[in-house]
Amino acid sequence: MKANRVGVAFMVLGLAMVAVAAGNAAITCEIWCGNPPVLLGSITCTDRTYCCQYGNCSTWQYAGTCCGQGQDCDTGVDDDGNPFANCVVNP
């Protein structure tokens, strides 16, 4: 009887681990330009992060990174004209 309980506990633990792992699944984000559309930039984020991307379809410049929860995504062009995608701490 007790052994059965242990078996059930293992099963629950296994399901919990699968659920946690599923919550950390990778996600790929893409920016497309042109007609027909062509993939300009893509980034794959995992581990409780989300995609932070910048793309310019006139210059075909792009930037990408992954930000964590509690961080904001800041994108644009820096003083040199280079695109950026940065994570900034959300105050």
Binding site: K2, V6, G41, I43, T49, T59, G81, N82
Partner: protein, 260 residues
């Protein structure tokens, strides 16, 4: 007796499951890589090989020779690797030396011409590194002349090549760059040259239907910390040509705006 054995087994299993749960908890709650502050990422060492007009060809050759072995290991045929070595070396020397003439000749041999992206980049950088070019001079330039001007005046964008580390060249195949490979952050630009069948080639390259090869190594650009750059080429079976596709800078350090 059997009951005692069962109890011992149950206790052992409970301890084991507790340990497993603890390990799983630690694993899934560890700090996400993207959450680490940039200051915690060790800066790359300063490359030792200084880029000069005299040495650029030798340096490019070292990079390409290291890359070629890895391309062959990535199932790119020896014939295609041989062709790519020539194009890759010319491309690198042109970038290192701000030598647009050699690059233009390479692209002309592939029937590639500057397209809309070149016009977009010229307009874009006019507001950044090239504000000081007199208006009438800039206004009378064709798109190709503007692109050539930007290519040959990379210092105005703080994109001049100072040093590289050819020994740390890595190379591979495939369109995609993972977040881990990109050192958590990537910035890139596609070629401004339009080559025959460009759109279809791009789509097929992304789908993995035609060869895509890249080489990557550390570079220190003028007045900036060392960064990694990745230069990617795509092969057109119809044109029987490799084409420069894009250049990317990897990592969170200050990066230069590159042309390609």
């Amino acid at each position: 007796m059997a009951d005692r054995l069962n109890i011992r087994l149950a206790v052992a299993a409970a301890i084991a499951s507790g340990a497993l749960a603890f390990i799983a908890y630690q694993w899934f709650t560890r700090p996400a890589p993207a959450l680490r502050a940039s200051s915690q990422i060790a800066p790359l060492p300063t490359p030792r090989e200084r880029v000069t007009p005299e040495h650029a060809s030798d340096l490019a050759e070292r990079v390409v020779i290291k890359a070629a072995k890895q391309w062959r290991d990535n199932d790119i045929t020896p014939e295609l690797v041989q062709a790519l070595q020539i194009d890759a070396q010319v491309t690198l020397v042109s970038l290192m030396n701000d030598d647009f003439e050699e690059y233009r000749e390479l692209m002309a041999s592939k029937n590639a011409v500057l397209g809309e992206r070149a016009a977009g980049l010229a307009e874009h950088f006019r507001d950044f590194g090239y504000k000081d070019v007199p208006g009438p001079q800039w206004d009378t330039m064709s798109v190709e002349e503007r692109y050539e001007y930007m290519w040959t005046h990379s210092d105005a964008r703080r994109a001049g090549w100072e040093r590289i580390d050819s020994k740390r060249t890595i190379a591979g195949s495939g369109w995609y760059l993972t977040v881990e490979e990109s050192a958590k952050s990537v910035t890139g630009v596609y070629t401004a040259f339009q080559f025959p069948g460009f759109d279809a080639i791009m789509v097929r390259a992304e789908r993995g239907e035609i060869p895509v090869a890249w080489m990557q190594f550390p570079v220190q650009f003028t007045g900036r910390p060392t960064t990694e750059i990745r230069v990617t080429f795509v092969y057109s079976p119809e044109g029987e040509q490799w084409y420069p596709l894009r250049v990317e800078t990897l990592g969170r350090m200050s990066k230069p705006p590159l042309l390609f």
